[in-house]
């Protein structure tokens, strides 16, 4: 059993941070939760997608006449005939980054790209029909690695993008040259960071149902129903309000499900054409080869420090493998550069990022959003610098770490930061371990993460988060949110905030989410934004409803105006005289009568203002990972770990523990297991036999020391949790290897053969030394 310790807890709340079970739990464990995968509509057809076998080719001709002759095949759509090459992308403000035709008209750019979609009365027939579609291609030269794609004579993947450079990003503060001058020691390294599959339990799937009145309803597995509604409206030329997205239960997202995918797009286009519901479910293989992945990166970083370990300057250059399309890759490119500075104070810092198109599976956001790559490089280099200078790696980090009030010039101001206590906790834990066996070592790694993004490249006119709280006459509460539950527990967290604020019990609150017809717009579940942003909106809505109830209570109470009323545990009372009060339901009933029979409705919203460039708040953490290595085979085993973690005030600690354990498993996978090898643009392990994901029974211990701080911008002081912990682990494993053998591995995931090679080189060097 993993250990969960709380350092300096706050005063107890009534609901927040109490033992609240996931409010969706019963529906899920009894199988009643209806996922998109389960949806079946009358007259529904099944769609399948024919995909490109080439990494780069012109589409010359598509002949699907034979497929249409198969009994049961109802229709076919192609880019040329049906979708007319409409380009889409999530960076709506920047048209040149909307570069993806989900059914391309004239050219394919990666293996697995959709080319033709077909609908039939059964899934079997639809799949069979694919064999009867002839596509004539002219194969073009392809390029797979960013360092090759930027060469002058490399094949052009998108017209007009010189050297295949898709996006560049620059971050700079301070006088970098001058700050390097002040440094006594400068170190530079090149690193390589791998990709990673999101690996959602529920693969991409959609059921689209277009009716002759011009309305389109889509059941879809995604992280942001509002984004889907808006993006589909864009590509179909419809009004947002004529499209309804239903995503009540979603089997995981991890950053891979807030862009349009082939399932939603093709099912909708087929449904519009055939006027019947169409369902498309990706196979696991399709989910691997034809969605998007964590961004692989080549990282150069140069760091200057003083003899005493004070950080002076850092300069980084990054080339990312963007794959065939932009997706969320432009944001990942910015964030990796920003988080590469974390969690330290730099007098001067410069970052240049280049996102390069290649003929491979596109890369995009994935849990950690560029930061796992940033930390893999930064936290290892910092460890090596401490060793080069003979300094204590924890103390050197501590000395340079952010603190409350730290200003990152032009980027952010840190309002809450518990990292100093994280250092204390990790140090204590390492000391408590004493002497380790000779094949074991502990590595550490620090990081921080954002609590939702400030940027509005989506160009929404709506508040970033909105919520509506409705109080019924019996005291039950309807909470309508646009925030999206994807398994991370946001419905529970928001119900807790609502109950705490309104003064009711969590079982009084029913959360309605995942349906654009009945819930307000919200940017959805990505960038760790919902606890802070949707949480603030829910808190505001509940306060609004509460104020209306208390107005009636005040009017009735006859209390002197200096007294305040409050509601706790369904009890409306004077704060100074808690025993003087009245039952919540009775008050609500009268209040509703006073409103001429209308239910009490509170509204809340949140959009960050004047909070810098990135995020309103930042979490902090330090992780220690103990590994065991078989020196003869190179096999790594994770034996133990502790993460000291500052997410402000935890709202839902059971959810928090689940999120941190899940993030640790994903982070460990990124560190040493989840490799994605490509050969000539083809992914070589698109299945769960060959792609290595930690299974529940093999999950390494993931202990947590929760350092409670108070974040002024967050609801009840809360900030990010659950995504940031994907960041430190790869570097912590690398640092443990450095401690154990003195070897420096510069590529992740770390493979057994890399360890053996490094050990061999080390032995050879030692031999030469003698």
């Amino acid at each position: 059993m993993n250990k969960y310790t709380v350092i300096n807890p706050h005063e107890p709340f009534r609901v927040i941070n109490t033992h609240v079970r996931n409010i969706d739990g019963i529906a899920k464990v009894t199988g009643r939760a209806v996922y998109t995968f389960d949806v079946k509509l009358p007259g529904m057809l099944y769609g399948k997608i024919l995909r490109s076998p080439h990494p780069h080719a012109k589409i010359l001709k598509i002949d699907y006449s034979k497929a249409l002759e198969i009994p049961g095949v109802m229709g076919v759509v192609t880019g040329k005939e049906d979708t007319l090459g409409v380009k889409q992308g999530i960076w709506r403000r920047y048209k040149d980054l909307c570069d993806e035709q989900i059914l391309p008209v004239d050219k394919v750019r990666y293996i697995g790209e959709p080319v033709v979609a077909v609908a039939a009365i059964t899934e079997e027939i639809a799949e069979k029909a694919l064999d009867y579609i002839d596509v004539e291609y002219e194969v073009l030269p392809a390029v797979f690695e960013p360092m090759d794609a930027i060469k002058k004579d490399a094949p052009e993947i998108h017209e007009g993008f010189e050297r295949n450079i898709n996006v560049t990003r620059h971050i700079e503060w301070g006088d970098v040259e001058e700050a390097f001058e002040e440094a006594d020691y400068i170190r530079e390294d090149w690193f390589k960071c791998g990709g990673q599959a999101h690996m959602c339990m529920e693969t991409r799937c959609a059921v689209s149902s277009y009716t002759p009145d011009g309305k389109l309803t889509i059941y879809h597995s995604n992280q942001s129903p509002y984004y889907m509604q808006a993006l589909m409206a864009g590509v179909l030329g419809m009004r947002e309000g004529d499209i309804r997205i239903i995503s009540t239960y979603v089997g995981g997202g991890f950053g891979g499900k807030f862009e349009l995918d082939g399932a939603i797009f093709c099912s909708a286009v087929l449904s519009i054409k055939l006027k019947r519901p169409v369902k498309i479910v990706y196979t696991r293989e399709e989910d691997f080869i034809a969605t998007k992945r964590r961004t692989p990166m080549y990282y150069y970083t140069r760091t200057g420090v003083k003899k005493d370990g004070t950080f002076c300057a850092r300069e980084a250059k990054v080339f990312t493998n963007g794959g065939a399309y932009t997706g969320m890759g432009a944001t990942a490119l910015y964030l990796t550069g920003f988080f590469h500075s974390f969690p330290y104070k730099w007098k001067a810092y410069r970052y240049d990022g280049y996102r390069v198109y290649t003929n491979t599976l596109p890369s995009t956001s994935m849990r950690g959003f560029g930061a796992p790559q940033a930390m893999w490089c930064s936290e290892q280099q910092i460890e090596w610098i401490a060793a080069d200078l003979g300094l204590d790696p924890i103390e050197m980090r501590r000395k340079n770490a952010h603190e409350e009030g730290t200003i990152i010039p032009g980027q952010a101001t840190i309002a809450s930061c518990g990292i100093q206590q994280c250092f204390d906790e990790i140090k204590k834990w390492i000391d408590s371990k004493g002497q380790l066996p000779p094949n074991r070592a502990i590595g550490i790694s620090a990081c921080g993460f954002m609590s939702g993004g400030i940027f509005n490249w989506f160009d929404t006119p709506y508040s970033f988060s909105s919520a509506v709280v409705t109080v019924n006459q019996d005291g039950t509460v309807e909470l309508n949110v646009g925030a999206q539950e994807i398994g991370q527990g946001s419905n529970t967290t928001l119900a807790i905030i609502c109950a705490e604020t309104l003064g009711v019990k969590v079982e009084d609150v029913k959360v309605h989410s995942g349906d654009t017809d009945f819930n307000p717009a919200d940017l959805g579940a990505w960038g760790s934004r919902q606890t802070l942003m949707a949480g603030n909106a829910v808190k505001m809505a509940a306060e609004d409803a509460k104020r209306q109830i208390l107005e009636f209570a005040y009017a009735q109470s006859g209390l002197n105006i200096v007294y305040d009323l409050d509601i706790k545990d369904r009890w409306v009372h004077a704060i100074a005289r808690p025993e003087r009060g009245e039952d919540f339901v009775k008050v609500v009933r009268r209040a509703i009568r006073g409103k001429d029979g209308q239910r009490i409705v509170g509204r809340g919203y949140y959009t960050p203002h004047r909070k810098g460039m990135i995020s309103p708040a930042y979490s902090y953490m330090l992780q220690a990972v103990e590994i065991e290595v078989d020196e003869e085979t190179g096999k790594i085993r994770l034996c133990d770990s502790l993460t000291a973690h500052d997410c402000g005030q935890p709202i839902n600690h059971l959810g928090l523990i689940g999120q941190l354990e899940g993030a640790f498993s994903m982070a460990a996978g990124y560190g040493y297991l989840e490799y994605m090898p490509f050969e000539d643009g083809k992914l070589m392990n698109p299945n769960l036999v060959d792609y290595k994901v930690i299974r529940a029974t093999e999950m390494p211990p993931a202990n947590i020391a929760e350092v409670d701080t108070y974040e002024p911008e967050g609801p009840y002081g809360a900030k990010e949790a659950g995504e940031g912990l994907t960041n430190p682990t790869a570097a912590a494993i690398g640092n443990a290897l450095f401690r154990l053998f003195g070897i420096q591995i510069k590529e992740c995931p770390i493979r057994a053969e890399m360890i053996l090679k490094a050990l061999k080189e080390k032995r050879e060097k030692e031999q030469q030394g003698k």
Partner: protein, 288 residues
């Protein structure tokens, strides 16, 4: 996706063999933990699938101190793992089963199905060959028995003829002063082995090696003995340098492939390391 097929469910072994003889393009399913994966990936799409998993006649574990161990083909991995008599007499089989995939797979997958699938990375075969096991196969006309190492022909190919299924595995009674050990190299404990090595050692009264068998897993198309290393060890006494030498031979006398999980060089290296370790482990256990 899995293509439509006709599902055949015989009531008895006799009926199963008759049905199998009658139907062309028919695959036997006995747990399906391997078959369904290849069917799902579209690598095979048989017209008929003959299910023998429920046939009780082949679901048994019998042990006799003289005759040894007999395991029926439809016995699940989990039954082997949980068998007291196997744990007592062939602990290496229990150790091997514990790391064969997940509990869910072991609950459903069977020993007969595993061997007939003939995946070179399968766990049971190297261990059983190290224990000098025989396999009995049969069709509607009769049955035949052969050393298990002769059962495998190539990647996913066995000597099974049309209409023939695996009936039983027989392991001789353990000799005095003998022990066996098995280890696979993988990244996650429950994964298939990237490579594996099994060794069984029998010592004489003086502690010298009377008999030894070394079998490599996923080191070529079929599980393979390392006879050159076995010869080296016979008659010798405990010597770690000798185990290292045997390991070196193992890394030479094999034909592993390079793939995304490991290069050929790494596979050879690890086969050497595992063989050295398994010899030492088995030898020390045999010594008591």
């Amino acid at each position: 996706m899995i293509h439509d097929f006709t599902y055949l469910k015989p009531g008895s072994l006799k009926e199963a063999l008759a049905m199998y003889a009658e139907h062309d393009d028919c695959k036997v399913i006995c747990g399906g933990q391997s078959l369904l994966i290849v069917m799902r990936q579209g690598m095979i799409s048989p017209e008929y699938v003959l299910d023998i998993k429920h046939i009780k006649e082949l679901d048994y574990i019998k042990f006799d101190p003289k005759d040894g161990l007999r395991i029926g083909a439809t016995t699940t991995h989990r039954e082997i793992e949980k068998s007291d008599v196997i744990k007592k007499n062939y602990p290496v089989l229990v150790e091997m089963e514990r790391k064969l995939a997940s509990v869910q797979v072991r609950n459903w997958g069977t020993i007969g199905g595993n061997l007939a699938h003939a995946d070179s990375a399968g766990d049971p075969a190297p261990v059983l060959i190290a224990l000098d096991a025989e396999i009995t196969v049969g069709n509607k006309d009769g049955q035949r028995t052969m050393p298990l190492e002769d059962f495998f022909v190539d990647y996913f190919e066995t000597v099974l003829q049309k209409g023939e299924i695996v009936l039983e595995v027989h392991v001789p009674a353990p000799a005095a002063r003998s022990a066996a050990a098995y280890q696979k190299f993988n990244l996650l404990e429950s994964d298939m082995g990237i490579v594996a090595s099994a060794a069984s050692v029998t010592l004489d009264e003086n502690g010298a090696c009377k008999d030894v068998r070394i079998v490599l897993g996923n080191a070529g198309p079929t599980p393979r003995r390392v006879k050159r290393a076995e010869e080296l060890l016979k008659g010798k006494t405990y010597d770690e340098a000798l185990f290292a030498e045997a390991g070196k031979i193992a890394s030479e006398d094999c034909e592993p492939v390079s793939d995304i999980h490991a290069s050929e060089e790494h596979r050879r290296h690890v086969l050497g390391v595992l063989t050295k370790r398994m010899l030492k482990k088995a030898w020390e256990q045999a010594r008591g």
